[in-house]
């Protein structure tokens, strides 16, 4: 029996009907398309009455296939399929023909729009006539989540998921959690101290019974699929036994290497070779920096195991733990294998380094510093204990220049995007500076002031109006040194004049960039990233925390520049998604997956085993399968699709040279039927 297809054309208010004669599209479908037994239009198909119309007509007309001509299937395919399911129709018999994004929105001429819509609907009708019913794939769920990155995003996500009653494994590559937020002085727009609001959350992480924390660790590999990821974590050798160590501080007090630039203090302060990054670190237990430690350097030079070196064992000798000391020079990396159901990626960002802009000295002027360095200067826990003193000679700068958009909005040297946080943090810096250096003067060079956010505009105005920072609209073309001063040459585009400022210190509002290893992380997780190496969300508006790989979610600046409130909101969003996922015992997955054919012997499969499909698969879903004879000998090796991993992108089907791969719901037969139905004039 032939299929009875119903066509429902949506006006989308006037979004579609202004450029497409929807009545004509429905009429044509009913009159001319084979298999169409019913066609109508409706103002908003996605609305409740619209969905009711769909359900009613499926029942009344006995429809066995449905085409909804409306917006992108990314928008409402699920809506219409769910509506159809309630009538007992298989959801995969419902198709959406996109006549909005790909038609009405891009055309002005109604005649053209109408004609194209008619074509599009005809094509989708032809596909629908060949649709087969598909059943959702069911997979079990491991009720445990992995959070990668222990900055504020990872901390928030981990705590939310753990509070929801699920186990969380939090992996942090540094010796302590806290991330960039721990380095900040005060936070906008309220000027509350960053550490004061962050460190209690860090302690919560450490004490939470549902959270297992791995610091100084990295995710080595991720296998499996949504609900069932197999994760290998490398616990890098810390040379300190975390179970034994009490964090008594004896070891780092005796360490003779005291002049190592502290990463936490953005190289403005020093640390020892055995160290905790900052006093509030979690865990509050040290790690040995093997690159700088005298013992490890000696061992490398002599090519002996570190425990055999005698050059300096001060930290070991002083360690009061007995009978086994907490310092263990021989400690080796350890691989931990865990199974998780969901993953949150919260790997953060990197500040554009100081050595990019030649015109700003490329890092050769000590008193030209980055925003994060200024944070450390302004922080009470920083190298100057919160006093604003310039790095070169420790003098208090009386004239300070802030330059916004250093790297941001500059595709030639940095990145094309806006880093979003710099207008606000520069206003904050100007304010903090004025609070600490009353007689000083702050100049801010800006392109635009972009302070969109709750209480943000008011905050930036405060810097100008109450704190008296001089805002100059224009770029700085050069900085050079003249005696002890930095000469800042810039333009004031509002008065059309050149500006020359003799400054004591310059702060660059450096761009937020993707982490250096973003691509490696993306490859490990099989998730997509954009041209700037930020991880891509699945939909910019409607699925902002989901990655391209099901079961892996994004939080914080690894997805794009963000401030703290936005990061925390996204992290909680990701956590909610994880909890929804972990709340069920079984998962239903879209059955739109690829399949490599299997035939009776002696053919077994038309697959020739070239594995081109394996090379193009972005999700690592293609496996090699040996087809064996009864005696166990391999007859041939062919491709097989892991349904749990497959996302139904169809690359394998398009690549296959022997036409052995077919995508469920998108068979060659269906696609050809679509193409053949186009009337070429």
């Amino acid at each position: 029996m032939g299929k009875k297809v119903g066509v429902f054309v949506c006006h989308c208010g006037t979004n579609i009907s202004a450029t497409v004669d929807v009545e004509k599209v429905a009429e044509e479908a009913k009159k001319k398309y084979p298999g169409v037994s019913y066609a109508t239009t409706y103002k908003y198909m996605c609305s409740d009455p619209g969905q009711k119309l769909l359900r009613d007509k499926i029942k009344e007309e006995g429809l066995t296939g449905v085409v909804v001509a409306a917006c992108s299937p990314k928008m409402h395919e699920r809506t219409f399929r769910n509506a159809a399911v309630k009538t007992g129709l298989n959801p995969y018999q419902v198709e959406v023909s996109n006549i909005r994004e790909q038609c009405s929105w891009v055309h002005q001429d109604k005649a053209v729009g109408t004609e194209k819509s008619i074509d599009l609907v005809r094509m989708m009708t032809e596909k629908t006539r060949k649709d087969t019913s598909l059943d959702a794939i069911k997979v079990p769920v491991t009720k445990r989540a992995l959070v990668i990155g222990g900055g504020i995003a990872g901390i928030q996500a981990a705590l939310d998921i753990a509070d929801g009653g699920n186990e969380v494994i939090l992996v942090e590559k540094d010796a302590s959690i806290g991330g960039h937020m721990a380095q900040l002085s005060e936070t906008f727009p309220t000027l509350d101290c960053s550490q004061c609001i962050l460190t209690p959350r860090m302690v919560e992480v450490a004490q939470h019974e549902n959270i297992k924390l791995y610091t100084w660790s990295q995710v080595e590999s991720v296998g499996g699929y949504i609900g069932n990821f197999d994760v290998k974590i490398r616990k890098k050798a810390r040379a300190v036994d975390l179970d034994l160590c009490t964090g008594c501080s004896s070891c780092w007090q005796v360490c003779p290497s005291k002049k190592i630039k502290s990463e936490f203090d953005t190289e403005l302060g020093n640390r020892t070779a055995i160290y905790i990054p900052f006093p509030q670190a979690i865990p509050s237990k040290p790690v040995i920096d093997k690159e700088h430690c005298l013992l490890y350097r000696d061992a490398r030079k002599k090519n002996i195991p570190p425990e055999d070196s005698k050059v300096c064992r001060k930290c070991y000798d002083v360690c009061p733990i007995a009978p086994v000391k907490a310092i263990d020079y021989a400690q080796e990396d350890e691989i931990v294998e865990v199974k998780v159901g969901a993953i949150v990626v919260a790997t953060g960002y990197k500040e554009l380094p100081n050595n990019v802009y030649g015109e700003y000295g490329k890092g050769k002027y000590q008193d030209v510093i980055t925003g994060l360095q200024f944070e450390r200067l302004a922080s009470a826990s920083g190298p100057t204990e919160g006093e604003i003193r310039r790095p070169s000679d420790g003098k208090e700068p009386e004239i300070i220049v802030f330059i916004q958009c250093v790297g941001s909005r500059d595709p030639a040297k940095g990145c094309s995007y806006c880093s979003k946080t710099c207008c606000m943090y520069t206003a904050k810096h100007a304010m903090l500076y004025k609070h600490k250096v009353h007689h000083g003067h702050a100049f801010v060079f800006y392109i635009d002031i972009r302070c969109a956010g709750k209480n943000y505009e008011e905050f930036s105005l405060r810097a100008i109006e109450e704190e008296g920072a001089t805002y100059l609209r224009g770029r700085v073309s050069r900085i050079y040194k003249k005696g002890e001063k930095l000469i800042v040459l810039g333009a004031d585009t509002l008065t059309g004049s050149q500006v020359e400022i003799e400054a004591d210190m310059v702060v660059l509002a450096s761009a937020m960039k993707a982490q250096d290893d973003a691509e490696v992380v993306a490859r490990t997780l099989s998730i997509q990233y954009d041209k700037d190496r930020f991880f891509s969300e699945l939909h910019p508006k409607l699925r902002p925390v989901e990655s391209s790989n099901a079961g892996i979610f994004l939080a914080g600046a690894c997805q794009g520049p963000k401030d703290i409130p936005e990061t925390v909101a996204q992290a909680s969003g990701a956590a909610a998604k994880v909890m929804a996922l972990l709340s069920s015992d079984e998962l239903e997955r879209e059955p739109v997956v690829a399949k490599v054919d299997r035939l009776p012997p002696p053919v077994f499969s038309t697959c020739i085993g070239c594995f081109y499909c394996q090379r193009v698969c972005p999700y690592g879903a293609i496996e090699q399968e040996d087809i064996k004879a009864r005696d166990g000998s391999v007859i041939k090796t062919v491709a097989r699709v892991n349904e749990g991993l497959c996302q139904g992108c169809g690359l394998c089907a398009a690549t296959c040279r022997s036409k052995s791969v077919e995508l469920a719901g998108f068979s060659d037969e269906q696609v050809y039927a679509e193409i053949n139905s186009v009337e070429f004039n």
Binding site: Y357, G358, K362, A412, Y480, K481, K482
Partner: protein
């Protein structure tokens, strides 16, 4: 390989900066590479042409490239950076724009010379003659502190010229080091000298050149090395006026990098044109022993 020599209007025989051209030729006779003047070369279209008529200035430049290709030169040396920059940009313009390319070909009645490589003087020395300098050096100027001044045109626009670091170039510094003098680290390597405004806005030029001279003096320079006739004119010819205007004493010889190389190779100062400068170059000549 044959390298075509394109002097351009400023440094050709009898022009205002002929000592640059003369010293380039003399130095090349000693350390190579061998260069030959491109027959029938014409204006590169700098200044007035490229400010008023894009097609005309492109055609003027490309004509020289085409001539070079006709005479089978694979590379052109254009010591004047205005010339080298115009030649390179015009070449790129016709490479990128087929319509312009056809129009230019109609105008010059030759196929566009899109393959010949255009190099400035520093590139030529760095690519071909550094070893030769080491072998043939006869004199050094130990303790002669030289501020290498690149100006704007040698390195900009970086996207097209792709030569050295546009903010902190090093190629001239390396050459100065190779000929036994001491390049200094200073702040004004690529600052603008006022260039073409030398006639229309001398007030601007005087301020800009003063910044450069002051920067060089404060960094302890005994001389400023240049590779551009325009920079040379602004710094050398105007130095007295700048001194008067700013009530300062500079007395800093402005020398072409080719002249410095020549001195190191033991060539005569007068032959190199060091007598043709406004600011006395004797201190530089005497420094070479």
């Amino acid at each position: 390989m044959k390298i075509g020599y394109y002097p351009g209007c400023a440094i050709t025989k009898g022009a205002t900066s002929e000592e640059y051209g003369t010293s380039v030729m003399k130095v090349s006779e000693v350390i190579g590479p061998k260069i030959e003047e491109i027959p029938d070369w014409s204006c590169c279209g700098a200044s007035s042409a490229h400010a008023t008529n894009h097609k005309l200035s492109t055609a003027l430049s490309v004509r020289n490239l085409s001539l070079a290709e006709q005479h089978e030169y694979e590379e052109i040396l254009a010591p004047c950076p205005m010339c080298s920059q115009r030649l390179i940009i015009s070449q790129k313009d016709v490479q990128d724009d087929d319509v312009l390319k056809r129009e230019v070909e109609d105008a010059i009645e030759m196929p566009c010379g899109t393959n010949v490589k255009v190099s400035n003087y520093l590139e030529i020395i760095k690519n071909y003659s550094m070893d030769e300098i080491k072998q043939k050096i006869k004199k050094t100027a130990k303790g002669l502190k030289v501020a290498c001044y690149y100006g704007c045109l040698l390195v900009r626009p970086p996207k097209v010229l792709k030569f050295d670091d546009p903010e902190d170039p090093q190629s001239m510094d390396e050459i100065v080091r190779a000929i036994g003098a001491e390049p200094i680290d200073w702040e004004f390597k690529t600052n603008c000298c006022g260039g073409g405004f030398t006639l229309s806005r001398p007030d601007v030029v005087v301020k800009l050149t003063n910044d450069i001279l002051e920067g060089a003096q404060e960094a302890g320079a005994h001389a400023i090395a240049v590779a551009c006739p325009m920079c040379h004119a602004n710094l050398d010819m105007r130095q007295k006026k700048i001194e008067k205007e700013y009530k300062r004493k500079y007395d800093i010889p402005i020398v072409y990098i080719s002249e410095l190389i020549g001195l190191a190779l033991g060539l005569g100062a007068i032959g190199l044109g060091l007598d043709k400068h406004f600011v006395d170059t004797k201190s530089v000549v005497d420094a070479y022993t």
